[in-house]
């Protein structure tokens, strides 16, 4: 397979432009291969269609059979697949947080007699997952004190409260919470997961707890989530991936059923928001591993390092990320567009390291001088990530999208939409993302980046155009069953907030 053949085949979708540079560096001397025995090509096609899970499985299964050169190439591609999957799950986690926190809060405020008791536990856990420890604490405490809740869930609330205390730097009380009685498998794992997250216990004991638990013939969704978290804490993401793969990621963590004297018994499906943040981290860790291995091959090294910087930056390892960006920029043969994009990333890392003025002036200067929509998109996404104002960048990017046409500008429209979404300017976010959306295939992930679709769905949700958001996730759920939790929450809020008379007409 030559670089040219791969590049030509990838000329369609936007992300191909990412890939082109990687492969331009990586595939200089690749051996020719037919489609049937070319797992990298086949996985690339699936990746093009944003079928990340299928693409990853295809390559994972082939890695051991490939010769060293081809294996490095496959590892590079696999790393990129995990990376995009991580970005998608991060976007899903953001959207899920919007809908699920609203939904759980509304469940608690409902005026009916049969009010959900377990919603409070899930709200507390969701708040903790989103970093709102103080709010989470109040709810965990109420769950612990609620005699109507099964004792094991009250024990789990104690473990959650321990995590809150740990986050609030009260290690002693945190440990006492974690030491509270309760010996079911779920409680043991909850405790191990919390301690693992806090790095408060040795890896070997965590590993042992997880390995023992994972041998059980049946694992609940909650147990699986804990196992993923523990295996991430023990630096064994492969095991975490195996657990995730064995799970039905669309299954409710808990189904709360209510008794009735007559008529229909109500049931409420409750989900773990933390699953999405765990999966985000899992895919980033997997990306890091594959890219590090790919980088051991001299031919793959430049491309692998380019993406490694991205993975590490996402994992919060800014110093390491910076090293890789600088290594990439030190290569004079790096393609111009990718040099620019690496510079934009370098500025983002600088921003995260506290050098905000430097970062923002770099972005402004780059935007002023450039018009490449991919580079501008990276700059705008950097501004969005860093929550920077970036007035000049936005003005320039807005001009470019206004003048530009077609799919080449899809990603820039997405970037601008994301920026305004984070700024809570939802109409403008919708306007940009709709401008970049392929209307003929409006909800298809093959035609529209699912990360953009998740953002658009959130913007529609925020503006109470619930059906537009739900439509997106209905289609996305076919490939990503984990979005079920977002669907359920959005449906719940929609049901409570819609104000319509009850009309139906012939279209």
């Amino acid at each position: 397979m030559t670089c040219r053949s791969v590049c030509n085949r990838l000329s369609g979708p936007l992300f191909a432009q990412w890939f082109v540079a990687a492969l331009a560096v990586a595939l200089v001397t690749s051996a020719p291969a037919s489609g049937a025995d070319d797992p990298v090509g086949a996985a690339t096609k699936l990746y093009e269609k944003r079928r990340y899970e299928q693409a990853a499985r295809m390559l994972e299964g082939e890695l051991a059979r490939l010769d060293a050169g081809r294996r490095a190439q496959a590892q590079l591609v696999l790393g990129m697949i995990y990376l995009r999957n991580a970005d998608l799950h991060q976007a899903l986690a953001r959207t899920a947080a919007a809908a699920e926190l609203d939904y759980l809060d509304k469940l608690l405020k409902t005026g009916t007699e049969d009010r959900s008791r377990y919603a409070r536990l899930y709200l507390a856990e969701a708040l903790l997952a989103r970093g709102s420890a103080a709010e989470a604490r109040r709810h965990f405490e109420q769950v612990r004190a609620d005699p109507g809740i099964e004792s094991r869930y009250r024990a789990i609330a104690s473990v959650g409260l321990g995590s809150v205390l740990w986050a609030q730097r009260d290690a002693e009380r945190a440990r006492s919470m974690w030491a509270a009685p309760g010996a079911t498998a779920e409680i043991t794992l909850a405790r191990a997961a919390a301690q693992g997250r806090a790095q408060a216990v040795d890896v070997k004991s965590l590993q042992r707890v997880a390995d023992d638990a994972s041998r059980a013939p049946e694992l609940s969704p909650r147990t699986r989530r804990y196992l993923i978290e523990i295996y991430l804490a023990t630096g064994t993401p492969d095991k975490a991936l195996a657990v995730a793969r064995a799970a039905d990621l669309g299954m409710a963590s808990y189904v709360e059923r209510f008794k009735v004297a007559k008529g229909t018994a109500k049931s409420i499906n409750l989900y773990d928001l933390a699953l999405l943040t765990d999966l985000t981290r899992l895919y980033r860790e997997l990306a890091r591993r594959q890219l590090e291995q790919a980088a051991a091959d001299a031919r793959m090294k430049p491309s692998a390092e380019y993406y490694l910087a991205e993975a590490l930056s996402g994992l919060g390892a800014s110093d390491e990320a910076l090293t890789y960006v600088q290594a990439f920029l030190a290569r004079p043969q790096a393609p111009a567009q990718y040099r620019e994009r690496a510079l934009a990333r370098q500025a983002l890392i600088a921003h995260r390291q506290g050098r905000r003025a430097e970062a923002e002036s770099t972005w402004a200067a780059m935007a002023e001088q450039g018009s490449d929509p991919e580079v501008l998109a990276d700059i705008v996404l950097g501004c969005s990530d860093a929550e920077a104002q970036c007035g000049k960048v936005l003005a320039r990017a807005g001009q470019v999208t206004e003048a530009g046409d077609g799919r080449r500008y899809q990603r820039l429209n997405f970037a601008l939409g994301s920026y305004y979404l984070r700024k809570k300017d939802y109409p403008r976010a919708i306007s940009y993302m709709e401008a970049g959306r392929d209307k003929s295939n409006k909800n298809k992930i093959e035609a529209n980046d699912p990360e953009m679709l998740a953002g658009l769905a959130e913007a529609y949700y925020r503006t109470k155009k619930f059906s537009e958001g739900l439509e997106i996730f209905f289609e996305m759920s076919k490939e990503f069953p984990v979005v079920r939790q977002i669907q359920e929450a959005m449906q719940g809020v929609y049901s409570m907030e819609q104000r319509s008379a009850g009309d139906v007409k012939i279209l």
Binding site: S267, N441, M496, D503, V504, K505, I506
Partner: protein
């Protein structure tokens, strides 16, 4: 002043005929008045009144002409319309509406505008609920015990029981007591149904011989005169021509773009595409009065015999989603656990065999000497190349399992009479569109079987009836969700329809029309705020 001149120039004849007063109430928002908005419709409205209509073309026009006591804004908040305020009793059963005193009905020729009062509200409710009034609204308002006038501008509505979301239900459109020729009940033959007057931002000026519905801005509109002078609904018989009309500036807006034209419209920077009508789906509906179709296995066999995915891909370029039941996938009521019945011709044959059918000499299934031959009626005005292909494919799929289909394309009104009045069909093809409430009671409750009612197929299932009633009675949102999930599962199993797909729905408009907010169901709810900059007005 400039605005008054514009009216005088653009619609002098109409202004004289309708006795438009010289004074007007501008919005005072600094945006220009004037201009004409031509929008294309795929077909013509059956009626122009808000009570007897049951299709979306009429709905869009009545949204411009009439108001409810309350409205629902884009944030799903209840806002005052004809009622300036209201009070609810603690038990949620009594609502007192205090009406605006500055609202006038559109004037008829030679008349001065009459004031809107409490009498009109009581009249609307009474005529709507009259047994001889043909309307799908009755089932929606059965929860009202009575509406009484307690003053010229005060009405008290007493409910039989408290219901969820009660206030929103009072968004039904109010018609004038002096409107219908028959003050007792309303039919589609009443002059009012074709020449209505309302209180809304636009007044019906004329319906031309070509079926164009011309609406002019109501200068006395209580929220301030709408900015755009005229709205003209232009009927098209061919969806493809609508896109061409937009591209060549013959119309400024298409309410529903044919999916095949989306790339062309999206590629033209003059236009904006906005998603619309997400809560809709297409179906083949069965007449279960036919004993052959009364057998659930036959209905299931038909669905199993039809490859909906292939049809969606081939005839609509995959621009939609196959559904499993009576709700659209964008609805809060959709049961995500219920998957669409798979395409399985062998399963279809097995089901037919279980129902007692055997292949006859010509391959058509027979039972007790009677061939399994069914009529399919399709409205010709909703016909398009894609629909024709769907119908032909449907015929072929069923032939493959031994079911013969005779297809009949009928003129719109004749089709509606066959389906909704005479019930003279075996299978029909259509699409429903829902508002956010996901209310399927008029479609599947057995009390909704009858002339011009939406349960045209005569479907009756006590369990479904019970769940529908329970869903209406509950005050618990989550319980209502649970009930709807159950309804979805039962109806997916029962197959009173072959549920097909939800298509990609976009409206398109020229960028010269500004401040456009499109209601996802009623479309023109916020049209009085739209405007066209002076330099771009025709």
């Amino acid at each position: 002043m400039k605005r008054i001149l514009t009216i005088a120039v653009l619609g002098l004849g109409a202004a004289i005929a309708l006795c438009i007063p010289a004074h007007a109430a501008p919005k005072g928002d600094g945006r220009p008045d004037g201009g004409v908005l031509n929008y294309s419709e795929y077909g013509r409205p059956a009626t122009l009144d808000p009570i007897t209509s049951n299709e979306t073309i009429s709905l869009r026009i009545t949204e411009l002409v009439f108001n409810g006591l309350v409205g629902i804004d884009e944030k799903q908040e209840i806002v005052p319309e004809l009622a300036e305020r209201w009070e609810a009793s603690k038990d949620g059963r009594v609502f007192t509406f205090f009406l605006r005193k500055d609202v006038k009905w559109h004037p008829r020729e030679g008349e001065t505008p009459r004031p809107f009062t409490a009498d009109d509200v009581v009249f609307t409710y009474n005529i709507m609920m009259h047994p001889k009034t043909i309307t799908p609204l009755k089932v929606r308002y059965e929860f009202i015990e009575k509406i009484e006038k307690t003053g010229d501008y005060t009405v008290v509505c007493t409910l039989k029981r408290p219901i969820l979301n009660a206030l929103a239900k009072f968004s039904f459109k109010i018609i004038p007591k002096h409107g219908p020729a028959n003050p007792q009940y309303l039919t589609r033959e009443d002059r009012f149904a074709h020449s209505p007057i309302g209180t809304g931002p636009y007044m019906l000026q004329t319906v031309t011989g070509d079926g164009e519905v011309v609406l002019v801005a109501n200068p006395d509109y209580f929220k301030g005169r709408a900015h755009i002078d005229k709205f003209i609904a232009r009927p098209f018989a061919d969806q493809n021509i609508m896109a061409q009309a937009l591209m060549f500036n013959a119309v400024d807006m298409i309410v529903l773009v044919n999916p095949r034209n989306l790339p062309e419209v999206q590629g033209d920077k003059r236009f904006v595409l906005q998603p619309y009508n997400a809560l809709s789906y297409s179906f083949f509906g069965y007449n279960v009065r036919n004993p052959l179709l009364a057998d659930r296995r036959v209905r299931q066999a038909i669905t199993a015999a039809v490859n909906r995915w292939e049809m969606l891909d081939s005839f609509f370029n995959g621009q939609g989603t196959v559904i499993s039941g009576p709700f659209a996938p964008g609805s809060w009521a959709y049961n995500l656990d219920v998957k669409p019945l798979l395409f399985a011709p062998d399963r279809a044959r097995t089901l037919l065999a279980e129902a007692g059918f055997k292949p006859g000499a010509d391959g058509t299934m027979e039972k007790d000497g009677k061939k399994l031959v069914l009529s399919l009626k399709v409205p010709i005005e909703k016909e398009s190349e894609a629909v024709k292909r769907v119908v032909l494919a449907f015929q072929n799929y069923l032939k493959n399992v031994g079911i013969a289909i005779t297809v009949e394309f009928k003129e719109w009104q004749a089709w509606k009479e066959d389906v909704f009045l005479e019930h003279n069909f075996d299978i029909m093809f259509a699409s429903w569109v829902f508002d956010d409430s996901a209310d399927i009671s008029s479609l599947f409750h057995s009390a909704e079987i009858g002339d011009w009612k939406n349960n045209f197929g005569g479907y009756s299932n006590p369990e479904v009836d019970g769940l529908i009633v329970e869903s209406k009675l509950t005050l618990d949102h989550e319980k209502r969700r649970t009930i709807n999930r159950k309804l979805h599962a039962i109806l997916a199993e029962e197959q009173p329809y072959a549920f097909l797909w939800t298509l990609t729905n976009y409206s398109a408009y020229h960028k010269k029309v500004r401040r456009v907010q499109i209601h996802p169901y009623k479309f023109f709810s916020f049209a009085d705020e739209w405007f066209i900059p002076a330099g771009e007005q025709k």
